[in-house]
Each structure stands twice: as structure tokens, then as C-alpha cells.
Point group: D2
Chain length 322, copies 4
Amino acid sequence: MSIVLGPNQYGKAEVRLVRVDRDTARHRITDLSITSQLRGDFRATHESGDNTGVVATDTQKNTVYAFARDGVGSPETFLLRLARHFLQEPQISGGRWLAEQYGWERIAADPQPGPGVGHDHAFVRGGAERRTALVHADSAGPTVLAGLRDVTVLKSTGSEFAGFPRDRYTTLPETEDRILATDVSGWWRYEQSFVDTAGPEEYDERFAAVRSILLATFAELHSLALQQTVYAMGRAVLEAYPDIAEIRLSCPNNHHFLVDLDPFGLDNPGEVFFAADRPYGLIEAAVQRSAADDTSAGSGAPAGSGAPAAEHPVWSTIGGFV
Amino acid sequence: MSIVLGPNQYGKAEVRLVRVDRDTARHRITDLSITSQLRGDFRATHESGDNTGVVATDTQKNTVYAFARDGVGSPETFLLRLARHFLQEPQISGGRWLAEQYGWERIAADPQPGPGVGHDHAFVRGGAERRTALVHADSAGPTVLAGLRDVTVLKSTGSEFAGFPRDRYTTLPETEDRILATDVSGWWRYEQSFVDTAGPEEYDERFAAVRSILLATFAELHSLALQQTVYAMGRAVLEAYPDIAEIRLSCPNNHHFLVDLDPFGLDNPGEVFFAADRPYGLIEAAVQRSAADDTSAGSGAPAGSGAPAAEHPVWSTIGGFV
Amino acid sequence: MSIVLGPNQYGKAEVRLVRVDRDTARHRITDLSITSQLRGDFRATHESGDNTGVVATDTQKNTVYAFARDGVGSPETFLLRLARHFLQEPQISGGRWLAEQYGWERIAADPQPGPGVGHDHAFVRGGAERRTALVHADSAGPTVLAGLRDVTVLKSTGSEFAGFPRDRYTTLPETEDRILATDVSGWWRYEQSFVDTAGPEEYDERFAAVRSILLATFAELHSLALQQTVYAMGRAVLEAYPDIAEIRLSCPNNHHFLVDLDPFGLDNPGEVFFAADRPYGLIEAAVQRSAADDTSAGSGAPAGSGAPAAEHPVWSTIGGFV
Amino acid sequence: MSIVLGPNQYGKAEVRLVRVDRDTARHRITDLSITSQLRGDFRATHESGDNTGVVATDTQKNTVYAFARDGVGSPETFLLRLARHFLQEPQISGGRWLAEQYGWERIAADPQPGPGVGHDHAFVRGGAERRTALVHADSAGPTVLAGLRDVTVLKSTGSEFAGFPRDRYTTLPETEDRILATDVSGWWRYEQSFVDTAGPEEYDERFAAVRSILLATFAELHSLALQQTVYAMGRAVLEAYPDIAEIRLSCPNNHHFLVDLDPFGLDNPGEVFFAADRPYGLIEAAVQRSAADDTSAGSGAPAGSGAPAAEHPVWSTIGGFV
């Protein structure tokens, strides 16, 4: 019997890095959780505990902190720096670097100690949502994903769900007016042309713009199904930015059930809801350019076929959708 | 041997209520988690399972939803309505009603569908922090606390810690410039005079004002110890509002350790930090009016003594500080 | 206006200590999360940032680790050592020391490397439940509580709930057979006589015995209300051990709702359930000895009255019930 | 520009099902969280909100409960039943069904109410770990994975880490004796031959056997690297069971740092440790049979090459490793 080592990776997860930029009295903070994972020829450590080629996970952590001394820039550019560094080692053929960024806002202060809105060096956390970035590198070079997690949104009207098939196990009534609520999580993949030229400012601006498009589309589309909303959000992003190759979104349907107040002699015209925890719907979709437009995946479908390109290998490191 | 039932309470916890106010096209949403706990003569159910007097926890939940049909107002006034309702039952002598409120902001939209800033009926969650309210009722009548939980703040400078005693187990160096970060949680108790007259708007405005004072004080005080910051935050609230009798704050010290970059040949002038999870400091303090000023606690210290009044019974239901 | 500092405490929370006893090849591990909080005259640090008397929280952490060098014993005795140490400082008049202990079991191994059941130095975590201990000290000396958290139990029959009052808001049907499920959390207070003589083994044995009584009572009582079960659990502990003065239990009612399969043409004779997350019932009760039996609380009710003694001050540091 | 819908799936997540088998007085409980996700031709709902083919997520939930009326069996066989049911719909071409199972043990009782060890109908939760199962179906038919999550294990000795390369960013000392601790999570894929014949008992027995092998290997291997332990665990499973095609494991390195007691004048011979939360190492690896042995993946490497087979499509729904 022949048993062999398959795909493998190792590294340090959730390195919590807070970088303070203090060249002026008006500080900036960058708050990140970074995961570094290396791939390559690591058979010796798996098979016999020979660690000759194993860049210690502690060393990976140290490298994150040392590199932050020069500034972080955007999470995408910081991860690209880490990737380039580790790929210099001959035994390392690829890897996966992930960042989650937490948002901070300046505390309002009066009078302001410096120019601009808000305090110079005091901040308040902006929410549960996180900005995310991922760099995946293999023999074909680096791929950059940007994303967000758990942007919780809700519409109090403008959402229906009807026309679905009814079988023996269907009890859900159709509705023409419901609360639609979800936690938007997703990843989008930049074309190589963007990666080749973008600096930290471009990544930051693009992130903010994509987030705005996702929220505005959620708000403005009259929704007949969460699937329709998810697809429209992704489509709007691709329409706005040709250098975004594809986007994947994962959106729970955070059910808000209209409470039956009839037993208490009361009506309930869409006003009193029970917000449920579990179970929840889960809607996941990729929005892509047809193969004719996307030349980034080598083994794709025939050009001009109108079919999606073959799956980019980065997605196999994400799993499902997020 | 004589074994007896001691203090007890029961109810329904974390009733998730979302109320949509939709009298105009510009909706408002109120998102709450409500806990109702009743106290009284419940020996029969404990000793023999005789439930004759037990208002079912399911009934308590239903009451929350039914009452929301008339609108929620502020969490404090909604809890007071619940308290008055349940206290009509002869076997119920008191209780504790708790609310946590989640914040939502309108999604920016262009063009705006209605007057005002942001979308009419689409919202995004504002953060992990929660507004809290608590009504405690016993034979002396209702007491109202308002509060907040997990308002995460950080100062990137303006914080020292030095001058502490050094014993055999002291290794911490003194520092004249550190990151100070905490999650502010606290409760303040309104004087009866405020409770007697305040409506939902007064509670909402007061909450916003107290939160602003806490944040501004955190930002503006040059801190020699987190204790000093905590006390100053509480003191500022009491100075601003005579009808707040006392405030209790619980603030973890979310340590941010300066990373030693020396082994890598780099300095670190207050720029690169490791944000630790555990352990963390924990600073808790009450700020009160001296007994001469507070007549709300019956069995307090002699008037004019300058000593704090005796502990108000509501705090025994909070435990420690939050 | 006179604003003053009220009750306050500070310290280091969740110090994660793992102690390996390795005097023989058969190792033992003790896995604890320890919180140390000091009380005393700390006005100077609060009012002006004068830290002259402030034993740094970092020093408290170091003390935990240094003391562990001599062994931990039981969590109760370890906390008592910490309390005695810190109370030597003149400015410290009291404190609160808390431990949560995580359980580990030996991994089964064949052949066993040493005597006894299971591996000598390899372990698997035993569950989400934690053993807890708390030492509270003030001018009256130390008080010791022991407890447990989140011991999740379930009965698939032998539980009813009926006979409760029905008002306008009552919709719950009566039931003669339901699932009863809860996460048992509680604290019991040892009499001074026990504290004076008990060593680590006595604390360990007593903890195991109380846990067994709680579980056996939950299992064996035919329950007419969760209140009845909670009281019976507490009463059984007090009946078994005269040197336990009182016990407080907090038990959510983890609802398991029978699924209505009627729309699918199926009956459901108590077999298919939906386990809900929120809301949940919450039942909390203290079981005490009548005042005649308990002389530990100085300002209690008149001896022989049959009424519970006055509340022991330790409970004000717990808040509610757990 | 041509923008198209890419891969997508939708369903109901975390359906909490508790099944009581009560044909005799000795009850059995099965406690599951089930997620059902469907794939197929759902362009209409995404592009225009036409839900004609959309089996509602609520219907998927109802189906889970209705099917449970006939008994659950093992999680794997229950998911296979669900898969077969949903695949009857013409618009559904595949799907992914996931189960997490929580363990319960009988409460010890004396005297036992029935035959066997432990109480007939009272149970206590066995831990944080979960058994998992996944059925993935596409045009090639169903694939069955079994797994486990968060089996937390620790060795107090018998673990080294040395011989790793040292670069500018390496500060970690080599160690010949450390604590090794991890939360084992993993998935193994059954060969079609096993799926074709196995009933619930075979799945249950196999799960228990694989879990035992993983734990015993962790315990018994003298570890020179966590990678070595992970690979050995996987290899032992494949050696024991030819009808397991491959296994993937993901194991954090839960760091336990030896506390430096030197400043306190104390040594620390491997006894006092700080258990850290973040960051943590993360070791992930697949153990497979070489292509010559595995004919289950159609587009694999040439037979007899000794190289791993091409990646089975089920893994693209897992992402990374777990």
C-alpha cells in the first residue's frame, strides 16, 4: 500500500498587529489580524520530523512585526510584501496570506485638538464588520483577493418572496412584504492588470467603493428573492470595475418572523418581528465574466462560449464561498 | 435541619424584538434583546411543582411582543410598562427587566428616496456596542438604570503608567507613552425625579449625551492610570447631570504590547504593537454623590457625612459592576 | 456638589495557567483561568493618577505564576494563598479571586505506558463545563465559594409543565411530557468550619460529590417545573453536607419544541424536536439554611425565626445568581 | 461586457434537530445541526427573481424534520436520504449536506432505573467536540465525508521542536521538551465501496474507530514537529482502513509558553505554563493514497505514477482543510 502526503500548508494564524503612524500629531492606526501559511516541499518534517526547511511559525510572526516597522500601507500590499519575502526560500513554492482589518473612527472632540474632524489620537471601534484581503501564490504567481465580512444590513420593506414551488413539505406562505436582513461576506478577485499597478491608496479607495456599491444595491433593489439581491450586488461591482475579474458573496438570510398577535386581539401590519438565530437561509453565488472576457485562468472554457471560465485555483483555498 | 428557599427569580431571557415604525415611508427600526424576570412568592412551584401562581415564561415573552404593538419608545419606558403590567399580579412583588439595544444607521443612498440623510428603509448595523437599560422593582418601587456595553476605544498616545510599587514579583517597566485601550461598559442610575418626568425622548437624548461625555473624557484626559480615566469619565457624567445619582464603570485594559524589534536590528518608537487577548487588566469603579446629596437610599449614611450612601439594592442584581 | 469614589476594584483577569505535575512519569495537569481583583484605599490613583499604592495588575499576574511553582493544589486553596499574600499590603483591605478550571481526561492507550487507566502524559479535554472557585475577602476575613458552570443536561421524559395561570397573553399549551434541558451553573458557600480545616483533597472530593448530587437529582426527580428541579438540586446538596451554608443555582430552560409534523401527514409522539437558541427560560434560586442554623452572617435575622439569614456580602460580588 | 452567474448554492443552515428514540424505556438521543444546500439551474431567481424552481429553504428545513420521523440512523445515512430526495427535482443537479453531531452521555444513577450503565433518559453533554458528516452530490453521484471538529488534546511531554532554519527574523529557541496541544479537526473520504454497503452501524463504528486511532497516535508518537504528528495520525487511519481514500487534518498549535520565573528567583523545570490564545500555529495536511491505488477521481494522474491523484471535487466545497 502506498500512502503519501497530499496538499499541505502551515503557518501562524491571527497575528494581531496594531500599527500607529505617528509622524504627525494626527495619528493613524491600522488594526489587523494576519495569517501566514506556507506551501512547498515539506515532506521531511511530515515523514520524519526533519525540520531543516521549516521556517518556524514563530519566525513568520516575527516577520510580520518586523515588516510593519516600515509601515503597513493597505492590507493587500502588506501581504504581497510578505509573500515576496517568503517565496525567496527555495523550499517554499507558494502560500496564502490573509488579513482581517478592524475599523476605527476618530472620537468626536470639541474643540478639536488638530485640523480635521475628530480627535488626533483617540478612536472608537466602528463595528463588527471587517475588511479582508488575501494573497495566494503558486507557480503562476500571486493572486489578490479583497473582501469584507459580516456587514450586517436590513431592509424593513421592499422585499418579497413568492412563486416558489409547493410540495408535501412546503408550509411557508408567500409574502409580498418582509424584512430582508443579511450579513454580507464576500471576496472579489483583482485582474493582474490592477495588481501590477495598484498601490495602497488604490486598494483602499477600491475597497471603499465596492463596499458602497454593495450597500447601495442592497438598499435600492426591490428584492423578489435574496438570490436576486446577491446577484445584483455582485453584478453592480463587476459593471463598475472592469479590473475586478469576479466576485463571490455569501449571505445568510437572517430571518425576521412577523409575530402572530392575533391570539392577543391585535393585528400586526408589518411592525413587530421576532429575530431568529438558527436556522437561517444561506445564499451563495459567484458573479463572473464570461470566458471571452477573462483570460486569467489558463485552462478555461473556449473563448466566446459565453460560459464562465474554469475555476481560478485561488478559490480552492477559500472553500465554498467564504 | 431547616432548609428554605432563598432569593429567587425566573423569566424569559433574550427575547429578540425588532419593531418597525412605518407610519411614514421613512421607517425607523428598534432592535432589542429583552429579558424579563419576576420575583415574588413562588415557594409552591419550588417545593412541590404547584404552578398556580407561575406566570409562564412563554407568557412573559408574548407580553413583550404584544406590548410592542403600541410602539417601543425608549428601552427604559418600555421596560417600565412591562414592570407595571406584571406587578399587577398579587403574587409578584418585584422583578428585573433588562434590555440591550443594537444600533442601526441608514445606508447612504444617492439620490435619497426621501427627505433626510440616508435611505428610507435600508439600514446597516452600527457596531458591536449596545445600549442597555434595566428596571428593577421591589416594594420600594421601580429603579431605572441606563448603560452601555463594549464601547471599544483606544488612545495611541496620552497615556502613562508609572510610580507603582515594585516588589519581588514586579517586572513591568514604567512607561510614559503607551496605547490605552478598553471596552467601556457601565450603568448609571437615574434619580427618581428624572424617572417621574422623562419620556422616551428624554431617555434617548440623555443616553446619547452620556455616551458623548464618556468618550470625550476618555479622549481628552492625559491618563496616568486607567483608574484615573475611569473615575474622570464617571465624574464628568455626574457633574453634567444632577439627576444621575451614580454611575458604575467596568473597563478592561486591552493590552497593546510594544513589540521588541531589537533582535531584527530595528527600533520601535511606539509604532508596532501586539494586541493581546488574555489576560487583561480589569478596572471597575463606582462614582457616587456623597450621602448629603443623595436621599434616594433609605438606609444610607448620616446626612452630611461626606461618605457614600449605602449601596442601592439595585446593584445586588447586577453583581460586581456589570 | 460633592462627588466621591464609591466601591472599586482592579486586577488582572483570565490569567491562563497550566501546571504540570511531573514528579513521576504519570503527569497530572491543572488548567486554570484566574482573575485577581484587589480592593482598598485607591483614591489617589482614581483622583490624581498617583499610583504609589497600586500593585500593578502585571504584578498580580506574575504572582499567580510564581505561586504555581509550588503547586496549585485545589483552586480554592490556591486562591486562598493569593488572598493571604495580597492582604499583607496595608493599602489592600480586601479582594476577590476567581478561578475557572477546565477538565482533562487521560487518552486511552493500549498498552498503557504506566500503571492506571489511560496514558501517562496525553490528555483530551473533557467538555465545555468548568469547575469554579471564588475567594472573597474583606475585614471579616475570607469566604470561599465553589461552583460549576455550564454543565449541560437533558431529560428526554419525566418532565411536565401544567397548572400555570392563563391570561390574555398566554398561549402555551400544558404538557405532561416534554424534554427538559438546561446548563447548570451555580455557587455554594462553605461554612467557616470547612474552610478552617479543608485541604486540596477535601475541596476536590467535595466538588465531585456536589456535582454528582446535582446530576443525580436532575435525573431522578420527576419534574413538574424547572423551579422544582432547581430547588430539589440545591436542597439535596444542603441535606448531604451540613458544612455547606447555602447554594445558588442559575438554570436556563433550553427549550426543545416538539415539531408539528401534521402538515406532512405525520404524527410526532415525542420524538422530533427543534432545539431553540433564544429566547430561553431562566430559573434562578438560592437554597439556604434558616437563620437559626446559620451563624455566619453577622447581621442576620433573629435566631429561630425560620427566615433566611441576611444576605452574605459575598453575593454582592456575584450579581444576581452567577 | 458579458457578466454571468457562476457557481452558486443555497439552502438552510444549522437546522437544530434533536431526535429521541423511545421505543423502549431506555431512550437514545441524537442531537444534530444540519445544513442543506442545493445546486442546479437557478439562473432565473438570480437574474429576475423568478422563484419557479426554488425549493424554499423553509421547505428544506421541514424536510429535515419530516424525515427524522422515521429515525436518523447515522448522520451520514440521514444526509444521503436527504440528498436522494432533493435530487429528484429536475432543476437540482447537486448539493451539499452537512451535519454536526453533539455527544451526550448517560448520567450515572444509583440504583440504575434500567439495564445497562447510566440513567435511562437523563443525559449530560460530553464536550465541545463534534462529529461531522458531509454528503456532496454532483453529476458523478454522492461522495461521503466523515469527520470531527475541535477534539482538544494535549501532551505534557514527548514533544520537541528543533533543527529549523534560523534567519534574521528567527528568535525561537530550540526545545527538546514542550507541551504539544491542539484541537484536532479533520475530514476523511470513504471509498465508494464503503458507501455502497455501509449502514448506520458501520458509519458509527467507523467514526469511533478513526477517532480512537487519531487520539492514540497523538498520544504515542514522540513528536519532533506538529507536522509529523498530523501526518502520522492521518497515515495511521489510512493504514487501518483501506476503504478510506484520504484524510485531511487541520490542527492549530495551541501554544503553551514556559513562564520565565527567573526574575522571582525560581526555576521552572517544565511545570508552569502560560496558555496563549492568539496567534497560534496552524498545521494542515492531506494524507492520500498514491494514484495507483485510487481510481475514484476520474481525471487523476497516470496510474502507477506514485503521485497523489487529482484533487477530488468534494474538497472545493470545504475550502482549505476544514
